[in-house]
């Protein structure tokens, strides 16, 4: 009996020894909180995680009726509209340039990749305190001063919304290198024979080759990169929170969904029910967008 349970060569035993800890971790740290959160979303859970007052869908009505939540979704949309194309274009540009290098390729690859290792919190603080602070000795304002312009309070100006410049540039700097490496790997997988054949057929190097050979061949990588970028944009929290929050709270602009949920559920409000409902709505949106995007791009289908 025991022998049968263990399987041939004790394979079952080894299977659980190797996967068990991870399955356990997944259950304890992912599935249980997930299910608990879904449960909480149907209760009036204020300052408690073991609520007793069932309220049905009213938390969902609250969160969807809250203009702060809907505007946070809009904030996300605007943010991803900026950050996804910008990161993709920059990463691709960097990848193409590094790919063409004859020498010091590893050096440049590392240099551009390095910011990935930097923490979002640290980078945000540098952006906020030294580069884009509002006083005359901030780096950006020092540059403006050379041209005789007045200093700009980058993070406090809503007309025009200069804060977007700060938010987008910090993420661009942090993540461009990482996606460059992904695209570089994609570039290296394109067979040389294709370029040779194109050259024989009279394709000019440069734009024409890029347009008809490189870009289509990068399709699978590009799809994965864009998908990751969108999901990451959805999960944006660190740089927004660290750039814009003050001791007293968060301004009513540039408030992405996670920052909104943080203040609802984990601030002094402790409205865990409403917060969980918001989290479920957000998770559904991410799932739908991801599935739609994958279908649209044909992710997972066999390359023709």
């Amino acid at each position: 009996m025991l022998a049968r349970l263990l399987g041939p060569q004790k394979r079952n035993l080894w299977f659980w020894i190797f996967t068990g800890p991870f399955v356990l971790g997944l259950i304890v740290f992912t599935y249980v909180p997930l299910l608990w959160s879904i449960t909480l979303s149907f209760f009036d859970a204020r300052n408690t995680v073991t609520p007793t007052h069932f309220v049905g869908l009213s938390n969902y009505a609250t969160v969807l009726g809250d203009s702060a939540f809907t505007s946070s979704l809009l904030t996300f949309a605007v943010f991803s509209l900026f950050i996804v194309p910008a990161t993709y274009a920059l990463s691709l540009g960097l990848a193409l340039m590094v790919h063409r290098l004859r020498f010091a390729r590893a050096f440049f690859r590392s240099v551009f990749f390095l910011p990935t290792a930097c923490s979002y919190v640290v980078a945000s603080l540098i952006w906020k305190m030294s580069i884009f602070n509002g006083v005359r000795f901030g780096l950006a304002n020092t540059v403006l001063r050379w041209f005789g312009a007045d200093p700009v309070a980058w993070l406090s100006t809503t007309h025009p919304p200069w804060y977007w410049l700060v938010i987008v540039t910090v993420r661009l700097w942090l993540q461009a290198g990482f996606y460059m490496v992904l695209l570089l790997a994609g570039l290296q997988r394109i067979p040389r024979a294709l370029y040779e054949a194109a050259a024989v057929d009279g394709a000019r190097p440069g734009w024409q080759t890029f347009r008809y050979i490189t870009f289509p061949q990068l399709r699978a990588t590009s799809v994965a990169v864009v998908l990751l970028l969108v999901i990451n944009a959805f999960q944006a929290f660190d740089e927004f929170y660290n750039l814009l929050s003050t001791a007293n709270g968060y301004p009513p602009y540039a408030r992405p969904p996670l920052v909104y949920l943080y203040y609802v559920a984990l601030g002094q409000g402790q409205q865990l029910g409403v917060g969980s409902a918001g989290a479920v709505v957000l998770a559904l949106i991410i799932a739908i967008v991801t599935v739609a995007q994958a279908r649209w791009f044909g992710l997972g289908r066999k390359e023709a």
Binding site: V121, N133, G138, N248, P252, L266
Partner: protein, 436 residues
Amino acid sequence: MTMSESTRSDRASLPLPHLGRRGLLAAGGGLAAAGLLTACGSNTGRGSGGAGSGPALSQWYHQYGEAGTEQAVKRYAAAYKPADVTVQWRPGNYDQQTAAALLTSNGPDVFEVNGPTLDQIQGGQVVDLTAEIEAVRSDFNQAVLAPKIFDGKVWAVPQVIDMQMLFYRKSLLKKAGVNPPQTLDELVDAAGRLTTKDVKGLFLGNDGGAGVMGGTPLFAAGLELVTAQGTVGFDDPAAATALGKLHTLYKNKSLLLGAPADWSDPSAFTQGLTAMQWCGLWAVPQVQKALGDDFGVLPFPRDGASGRPAVPVGAYGSAVSARSKHVAAGKAFVKWLWVDRTDFQEDFSTSYGFHIPARISLAKRAAKLRTGAAAEAVRLTTEYGHANPLLWTSASTSALMDATNRIIKDGASPAAQVKAAAATAAAELKRVQKQS
């Protein structure tokens, strides 16, 4: 950070240190571990002897910036014999940490709280301390005791009072020919005239004032956040007028924005980035050291015919968790430290940073608060002090803050924004009063 790191008291003004998504999760996951650590009690600050007597209590404080405070509270705890008290000094988002810890049984027994909030009281997370405080109830500053009272019961013992006020640089005002502003209009005018290419007129925080101002401009306009009847007290044209003037400050480019340190730190003022700054009593020693006597302090100036000057005040309270295994021992300890031991209370108030003792008899005795700007701060607190009422919940706070923010920075219609914030506050007031 500086000494001002942690000494603010009005509920909305606790400093949030920087935190990332991972940090957030780690904090949540760490709670259980923190509870275990409490049980192990590494450093009780006590020497040999006396340990092991009575039940083990864990007491939490938020991190005060002033040197010596941590050692002081550990000394107090060690002097208590009936129980074995372990002090936890907690840096970081203290309000969030305690709020989360109170959900578990691994939280503190006795803790300092920037509240407690109405939800914490109604949720049964803190215990009634009325009997403990009763003998000396009238000796507490009533303005800061009031928000600790709900249903006629006292839910926390106020420790020390913190207050905010306006600092101005005498020499800069003199040079510009400006008198210390007595009305909001004069403040707007003074800030404009004090603004030069390199120095701004006024610093109300990096967000332009929406965060720290809170109810202060409304108090200065003669209004209230919540009336005695428990209804919204600022749905009034005077509120829109006062908040509209904050927009004028912003529009005139008289406000310092985006300074490296926010309003609670006097560096922008002492470094000459601004001629006037909204800060608090805690900053007085630091400003004195940097500027000598080249500064003065003012309340937030009055606005309109029925206006009065205003200063926000508040107090951290000492509360006992309802989930504690030793509620009675916790209550006895709170009574001992924050009611009986006036010598420790006095030491805590003025030996490290500047705070006003919550006990009137002690406040009168405090030598360091008898001269100069500190004495003026005490007078302003007594005459013009406003604490946020208990019924003013965090949802109302953020509604008003959002409204103020839109008025100041976007030039949104003050009347419409005040209406919107009043509607949210009215719904909140209805919710919390229905439950009681």
